[in-house]
Symmetry: C2
Subunit: 228 residues, 2 copies
DNA sequence: TTAATTTGTTAGTCATAGCTAACTTTTTTA
DNA sequence: TAAAAAAGTTAGCTATGACTAACAAATTAA
């Protein structure tokens, strides 16, 4: 009913702010998101964010009280979800058809997600036979805008003796992703926590019949499903 | 030797101006291109063009004397060719893999041609097995930046009794392209000029064992190869 | 419960890339 | 060859989206 034809006449910047706010609100599971937090996430100044938030409020995509926290409206959310859908579909295309590695796709997808064409993205989805997950293990929102959050259990949250399966990785850092590949980890890898060292919280893990030591920082960026 | 690694840090606008100038100079076979001509082609004001030309001159991509005609430098040309390559490869991808019709691809390709990733375009080329022509019959420049101009003989330039083959169409207008398809013409169609009416230069053509009458304006946008 | 710190806002600046209006130079036409 | 027309330039304006510096409000710590 309230589903008015979305003209999609938002700028790249407006789209990026909406997506970032959504990711802080939903993905990273923050209860409240402040202006400066959003600024830091987007690597712009608090003044720039304040300015854009004002604009997005008048357009009806964001709500907040003066000096208060930010939230997306019911009009703002689907815009963010569509961007995430586009981003993840392009990443999948680049990996599965154009020989990109998972550390190469994010930056190009950041550009491609802003291409304006409904048909383009729907056809890309069909062409790839409606993939469910992107190269980093994240769930791709479907054409209806349904968004499912992958439970984000980090490798660092497990205890000695636990066994788990790698379900996703944080796709933000190229060096991190290269590192993950280099030591032989990939989606679906089975990992056992051998030991957590008290001194520096470094973790000895076993996978592929080999043992590696990783830092807590590394383990914070690896998402797993605990096995029984 | 002078082939310094091109950082490709041009804006979308700068790219569009260089491409437009190239198309006026090379494709449309104009001997000289003026400021206002470029402005009209890009649908911006002469003042805007003057401004951008100034910028592109200081960057070394364009040359001109005050009140004189515009030309591209040896640094400017390959940038334009790369854009045309990207544009036509994307159009081909959209048509051949994503179920776009030839009247739907141009606008989306205008956006996609500005995506910055050398790997993306080279891999797209490889994925499609190095296509030679785009959906409108235009030659796609190769990865080495070699540009071949298709001889632009218009259907309107032929005489009564001549026979020809459709090799390309002007891709600028959606309604024109739809019209071409609707009457049953396509790349490689064989066409015979049955009659050219003196009164309004309208042309009766025969193809697929049927006869159609088209205007001179229509025939100006159809490019052919004359058959013996 | 006051002071310090953090968070958010405002004002003013800059770059890019459009625009119109006015002006100058060049070219064409009478 | 002088006037008119066309082409090119300049000045000054606008919008977007960055920035810094200064300030105000809210939160946290002393
Ligand atoms: Mn990504
Ligand atoms: Mn983006
Ligand atoms: Mn085109
Ligand atoms: Mn373009």
């Amino acid at each position: 009913m309230t589903n008015k034809l979305n003209l999609n006449n938002l700028t790249k910047s407006e789209e990026d702010y909406l997506k970032a706010l959504f990711q802080l609100l939903i993905e990273d599971g923050a209860t409240k998101v402040g202006n400066n937090q959003l600024a830091e996430y987007l690597k712009v100044s608090p003044a720039s964010t304040n300015n854009m938030v004002k604009k997005l409020k008048t357009k009806g995509y964001v709500v907040s009280e003066k000096y208060g926290k930010l939230d997306l409206t019911e009009e703002g959310k689907p815009i963010a979800v569509r961007l995430i859908r586009k981003h993840r579909l392009w990443e999948t295309f680049l990996c599965n058809y154009l020989n990109f590695t998972w550390d190469e796709v994010h930056d190009v997808a950041e550009q491609l997600e802003h291409i304006k064409s409904q048909k383009l993205i729907d056809e890309l989805d069909r062409f790839m036979d409606f993939p469910q997950k992107d190269p980093h293990g994240e769930i791709i929102p479907n054409a209806d805008g349904e968004y499912f959050v992958l439970p984000k259990i980090t490798l660092s949250s497990l205890e000695e003796g636990d066994t788990c399966q790698l379900v996703a990785v944080n796709d933000g850092s190229v060096t991190f992703l290269k590192y993950v590949s280099e030591i032989g980890l990939a989606l679906s890898s089975e990992i056992k926590i051998v030991e957590i060292r008290e001194f520096d919280k470094s973790i000895r893990i076993e996978f592929n019949n080999a043992i590696e030591t990783v830092t807590k920082k590394f383990a914070d960026n690896v998402f797993v499903k605990k096995l029984v």
